[in-house]
Symmetry: C2
Subunit: 135 residues, 2 copies
């Protein structure tokens, strides 16, 4: 299944940037980046990847689906962990190659397999990494 | 110049996920995704891409550098537009393949070439796009 089977391609730059038609631009691997942001705290939780089918499933179900690059398969986030991500709002950027998904994390309220609530628990300081979860 | 010339590769999963060594994982094109978030309002502003040199320049200068995929060259954000992005904090995720950069946009206070403050000015609603900048 190709992405063009599920979503149209923008006719021109004006349609891409200012149009009302969802015409996501997938990369060479057929993927688009999706930033998950907590809908209440505004904390950026993680960055994941969707293919066209995952995007369609996310829109239709109201829960986040990704395409797992390591496993090469569709991935309903939270199926194993309970960390289902309920979609509150989905945005797309100017050139339609990145999504911003505002979510309410279910289960333990997190997204990260390491055990922190969010994946961005380390700060780059003086060239090294310091663990300091966002407040 | 390869990324390994500027940054080490994590020795194992433990080092990658919990280590203090910055060992960014670049994709097949030598790039890592960088989310820009406004340091004061928490608004997610844009998603850009850095190669190893752009990441090094960002860390050293305290201003955001990207690698422009369309132009195939290093790009000091704001050089033309005045929208220089002053870095307040940089974070990296669990598997070190995404950056979260908290910034203070200079110039007109925005990041987007279309004229909105942030790139995510459209909401996906009922399968279509509606222009509604984040508040």
């Amino acid at each position: 299944m190709t992405e063009t089977a599920l979503f149209p391609i923008a006719a021109n730059v004006e349609a891409l940037e200012r149009g009302a038609v969802l015409a996501p631009s997938f990369n060479a691997d057929g993927l688009i980046a999706a930033i998950l942001q907590h809908a209440q705290t505004d904390e950026v939780l993680m960055l994941g990847w969707m293919n066209a089918e995952a995007l369609k499933l996310t829109i239709e179900s109201g829960e986040v689906w990704f395409f797992s690059r390591s496993r090469g398969e569709l991935w309903h986030k939270g199926d194993q962990s309970g960390q289902v991500q309920q979609v509150v709002e989905m945005r797309i950027d100017c050139d339609q190659d990145a999504l911003l998904v505002k979510v309410l994390p279910q289960g333990d309220g997190g997204v990260c397999h390491v055990g922190f609530r969010a994946c961005f628990y380390r700060v780059v300081e003086g060239g090294a990494l310091v663990e300091r979860p966002q407040t």
